[in-house]
Subunit: 318 residues, 2 copies
């Protein structure tokens, strides 16, 4: 009988869920709106109903062995989502308890970047690695650290906030209330800030000048870079320089075999990978130079988040 | 029969070794010069002879269960010391193999900061902790990271170089060849550089003005701080500010239960602990504020390095 794990990714807009086998094949997938439910109980009820429907839709004989969830501010130890800034439900939500009403399966929950790390370890680019880091370059910067084959959850379950390491103590204002965090520079929103700064501070001609500050997106910057636009290329260079410094510092601490880049901005390919690798090596302590691979996620697909979440279940059986 | 571990600490000047029980009692201890031997084989021969003498001197019935070694640039995976800048023997020295000629016991080797971390876990301030960091503030800055109850050696065995994370990319020249590393600011030598910079750049009166640049030591700065000298106090403040920032960034990555400060500069007590704690909390991401203990080593004694080294053996039996 085929064993399957349920993977649930709670995003700010949608919640995607799927049924995944141990090789990372997603046999069925669906989604519901995350924002449509004011009451967390209504949300869990609807989600559970839809998951049960998805299970019933399977033709193949199967056995469900657990539920893995990736969620912003997810706490592995407590099975909770705590004060997630981009979710409607405030305070501490105990998903582990809430799901008990509907399912008998064990529930494992962590934040989305940690789930992505486990996904890479179980199905993806980090198969067989015991020490690696995943960095997700999206709206913000998330990260998951694996050492000695285990994810670092830390004492309180919230480890892995590379995006909130301070690179420039007097730098850009961050949404977290402090200044100069990595994610104010090396994220999809960070590169937009960089471009807007550059357009304001220089007279350099640029394809990007036809957009207003608010219109510019990382996608538009990427398109301009492909068209060899100087401002766009310089923005990628600066973004990568800050990221490369943060990654060199990361290597000095955990000495990983590889760093995996994931998420929106990593899709810019060579525009981000090449300069980031160059600056990472430039800032690297001699001991570690040219030892650490910088590679793309192997889960890049519409299923990535669900795969990561489901991998939590398979990892727990290893 | 009492089980004992041999602990060996290879320092730049002396090599100290002792016989330690599982509660951290050092039953016998001795030392030889590290610098007196041009040939590594002569050194190992002499060290082995002296260790055997120490064992013979024990009245109590005992069983030796292993050798633990702390050494600069020690590699846990290979049992080697690799290109240690402050040892005479260049290249890669395989102590694990060299000791085989003299002892049948298993040999476990790592760098001094990692050994200190294991020492704290087995006998000291981190007993029962699964996630903590030790930072040694000596001539340089070393560190050992423990996550999920295991030391992070990293992929190549050289993890834990917090002292060589870059805090100011265009900052002070570091012995490693790069600029702005933590250890150029927050070490015994770093605070001396800070004081010399301050004396040069200001006209502030100071007890420290009676010393030449080369005469000033961290001990002298500590004495001046005790006498309420403004320059000395400001130097501690700046040293702590940089350290506090580095520690806040460290917490964001590994979320430890505690950070343990160890080594010469940590002996300055409140002069370093109070401002470091203050700046650490100032720079800390909200999630982690007021959660992480900043505590002194519980191994501060002349045996600390030997205890750390011997703890490697006990840890391997846990």
């Amino acid at each position: 009988m085929k064993q399957l794990a349920i993977g649930i990714d709670i995003g700010g807009t949608n919640t995607v869920f799927g049924l995944v086998d141990k090789d990372g094949n997603c046999l069925a997938e669906n989604k519901i709106s995350t924002t449509a439910f004011e009451d967390i109980n209504d949300y869990v009820k609807e989600l559970s109903t839809e998951i049960k429907k998805l299970i019933s839709s399977l033709k193949e004989e199967h056995e469900i062995i657990g539920i893995g969830m990736g969620a912003p501010n997810g706490n592995y130890f407590r099975g909770t989502v705590e004060n997630a800034p981009n979710l409607k439900w405030k305070g501490i939500i105990n998903f582990k308890d809430l799901f008990k009403k509907y399912f008998d399966y064990p529930v494992i929950l962590t934040n989305d970047a940690n789930a992505a790390a486990i996904g890479e370890m179980v199905y993806g680019a980090a198969k067989g690695m015991k020490d690696f880091v995943i960095v997700t370059l999206g709206t913000g910067v998330g990260s998951g650290f694996v050492a000695n084959g285990e994810l670092i959850y830390g004492n309180d379950g919230f480890a892995g906030e590379l995006g909130h390491t301070i690179i420039f103590p007097e730098g850009r204002q961050c949404g977290c209330g402090r200044k100069g965090c990595l994610e104010t520079y090396s994220s999809a929103t960070g590169i937009v800030r960089t471009v807007n700064d550059m357009l304001r501070d220089s007279t350099e001609e640029s394809l990007l000048r036809k957009y207003s500050e608010k219109e510019i997106t990382s996608k538009i910057i990427y398109e301009a870079a492909k068209a060899n636009d100087t401002v766009a290329l310089e923005a990628f260079d600066f973004t990568s320089r800050v990221l490369g410094l943060a990654l060199a510092n990361t290597v000095a601490i955990t000495s990983p075999e590889a760093i995996i880049l994931f998420g929106g901005l990593s899709q810019a390919g060579d525009f981000i990978f090449k300069p980031t690798k160059m600056y990472m090596e430039y800032y690297m302590l001699n001991n570690f130079k040219n030892k650490v691979k910088l590679i793309p996620s192997a889960l890049i697909s519409r299923d990535a988040a669900v795969l990561g979440a489901s991998a939590l279940v398979w990892k727990s059986k290893m």
